[in-house]
């Protein structure tokens, strides 16, 4: 029992529902994991973008459709969509105090982030199979 700490809640009680957010440190941890992922992918993605500059459509499709490029871009898109969903959620929770508006904003954020991710992944997959 945690009587010594002077709080009314037991150790089990504190852990059971994992804090005010109900999800413990999951949000914090996922933000860091995606941040490191994006950091690692930053240079390869930058190289890909520079490779694309000034290219016509055929050359662009050929570069983006290459297996390694497509895989790197897909990883970047997934990490980015996830990271930005988490980040925008923090901004919403900090500034939107009306509960209904907050719920609507959090849903909109979730949908927008997923839509950007899915649209980008669809395009990458289409490019790998030839336009």
């Amino acid at each position: 029992m945690s009587k010594a700490s002077g709080h009314m809640r037991t150790d089990l009680g504190k852990v059971r529902f994992r804090g005010a957010a109900g999800s413990g440190t999951a949000h914090f941890w996922q933000q860091r994991v995606t941040a490191v992922g994006i950091g690692l992918l930053a240079i390869p993605v930058l190289v890909i973008i520079v490779m694309l500059l000034g290219r016509n459509h055929a050359a662009t499709v050929q570069i983006l459709g290459a297996p390694l490029v497509a895989i790197l871009m897909a990883l970047f898109v997934i990490a980015s969509a996830w990271h930005m969903k988490l980040g925008m959620q923090v901004i919403i929770e900090d500034y939107v105090h009306n509960e209904k508006l907050k719920l609507a904003a959090i849903l909109a954020n979730q949908f927008f982030s997923f839509a950007v991710g899915v649209v980008s992944l669809y395009a990458i997959l289409k490019l790998t199979s030839g336009v």
Partner: protein
């Protein structure tokens, strides 16, 4: 009923003198929000390439216009700034760099580095893309 007790409140943001770390914290969030909106460009670009030559030409015309280039330049800086400032945050997450001097040095490195790297990327971009 007891009357409301006037307890001292913690002062809010506006009473503090602005510091570099504080300004960079605000800027980290602001660039994050800007990058969020900017992902529409990334999705559009990929979708345009996948759609075919006509859609791709529309995207290229926008990106190549003065407004498109301005947006892209701003996007590059926001991305580089958020990345460098984010690395700074990861260093802090690991428990390093909290000293008065280190904190300032890390922040200055990220701020100056973001401008230098952005310019370098555009110089390389024009050098490579210009010849094609």
């Amino acid at each position: 009923m007891t009357s409301r007790i006037e307890r001292p409140l913690s002062p809010h943001l506006q009473v503090y003198r602005w510091t570099l770390t504080m300004a960079m914290s605000v800027l980290h969030r602001a660039t994050g929000a800007a990058l969020y909106a900017g992902t529409i460009l990334m999705a559009w670009g990929l979708l345009a390439a996948a759609a075919g030559p006509t859609g791709f030409a529309t995207f290229k015309a926008f990106i190549g216009s003065w407004f498109g280039l301005l947006v892209l330049f701003g996007y590059t800086w926001a991305l580089v700034y958020h990345l460098l400032s984010g690395i700074r945050h990861l260093i802090w997450d690991l428990g390093y760099g909290f000293g008065a001097q280190e904190r300032f040095a890390l922040s200055r490195l990220a701020a100056i580095g973001s401008v230098v790297l952005t310019l370098a990327i555009w110089v390389v971009g024009f050098a490579v893309g210009g010849v094609r």
